[in-house]
Symmetry: C2
Subunit: 203 residues, 2 copies
């Protein structure tokens, strides 16, 4: 940890723009000597509390545009992306796995988060299923039996609930949000502004 405070990155594992941010934010922050704290949250809870609705659906003009923009934004950013056949998904199992791993090994938790995002947005796996989450974790060396128990651990469930409440308290209303020294940036398309902010210390 250096003398500058870490960035906070809030995301839902079912958020395409969250995935795009996840592929870029650590390297960008590192260029400016900053670390990133990752916070998986559940957009269902966020939308319920803020009275918002999911931004993308398959029928409206805006929904169709967004499905197209997910893939185009990925190409623009040079990130692999395949539209998932089932979308969006509930992501509490992936988020619980993350927090359980984080309690033991931060780097392994980060590795799991990348693997879960890529499983969903590249390999089209149904990451809502506990079995899929266990398989993703097993591939990076996580003890499958222990994780299976952890996914039902009341302490882990409470941790995820706390994280959602803290996100709401911090003003988070969607995914991804990156908060830098109290300044909030919403959306993968705010990466140029995030870089501008990191480079200049505010503008």
């Amino acid at each position: 940890m250096n003398d500058k405070t870490a960035l906070d990155f809030y995301f839902d594992f079912s958020s395409p723009y969250g995935y795009l941010m996840a592929e870029k934010i650590d390297a960008l922050a590192a260029q400016y000597g900053r670390q990133v704290n990752w916070h998986p949250i559940l957009l269902g809870i966020i939308f319920q509390a803020t009275g918002s609705r999911p931004p993308a659906d398959a029928v409206s003009s805006k929904g169709k545009y967004m499905l197209h923009d997910f893939a185009r934004s990925a190409r623009h950013m040079g990130i692999p992306y395949n539209p998932p056949s089932r979308f969006p998904l509930p992501t509490q199992n992936a988020a619980r796995a993350y927090y359980w791993l984080h309690g033991q090994d931060c780097a392994l938790a980060r590795q799991f988060a990348h693997a879960a995002y890529r499983a969903f947005f590249v390999d089209d796996l149904d990451i809502s299923a506990p079995e899929t989450v266990l398989q993703i974790a097993a591939k990076i060396g996580v003890d499958r039996a222990k994780l299976e128990v952890a996914l039902q651990d009341p302490a882990i469930k409470a941790r995820l609930k706390d994280e959602c409440e803290q996100a709401l308290a911090a003003g988070v209303f969607g995914s991804p949000h990156v908060i830098i020294d109290g300044e909030a940036f919403f959306g993968a398309d705010r990466l140029p502004q995030i870089e501008h902010w990191l480079a200049s210390g505010g503008f």
Copy 2:
């Protein structure tokens, strides 16, 4: 007109991100030998037809974020911006003035559009008032008496209605939209993707 087709730029005069796009899109298109057709529309009609809501309000987390992001995005892009004291505004008078001018002098209509946007987002003038629209137009040499009549001309009202219907048919659901050879880009934050598209002919 060169051999490449013009870009279509849809916007509401009350849209901050539309104003930011207006300050940049012509110069960017010109770098790639392209012209831009401007289409003021009324978001009220668009939102009613698409079942959307205005994105910004002053009380929710998202609304507060957006008011902050308008100003920060303007600073990021190097564009003057002062938060209007009355926002949003009905903009049918500004849009009608634009289409009436456009029927006579395209360049003058473009000049009026810039002046109207800057009057609202820099000088904090209430551009919903016919009197303000007349003053803005008079400053760039428009005959005030003729414009005053034109603002109530049924043909001009019908033109604006047609433009809103054509925007809906083209998939427009907010402001700004830029459509390049059938590819739609929503938001001032899509300027980097627009440049990418113009430079590469698609990606």
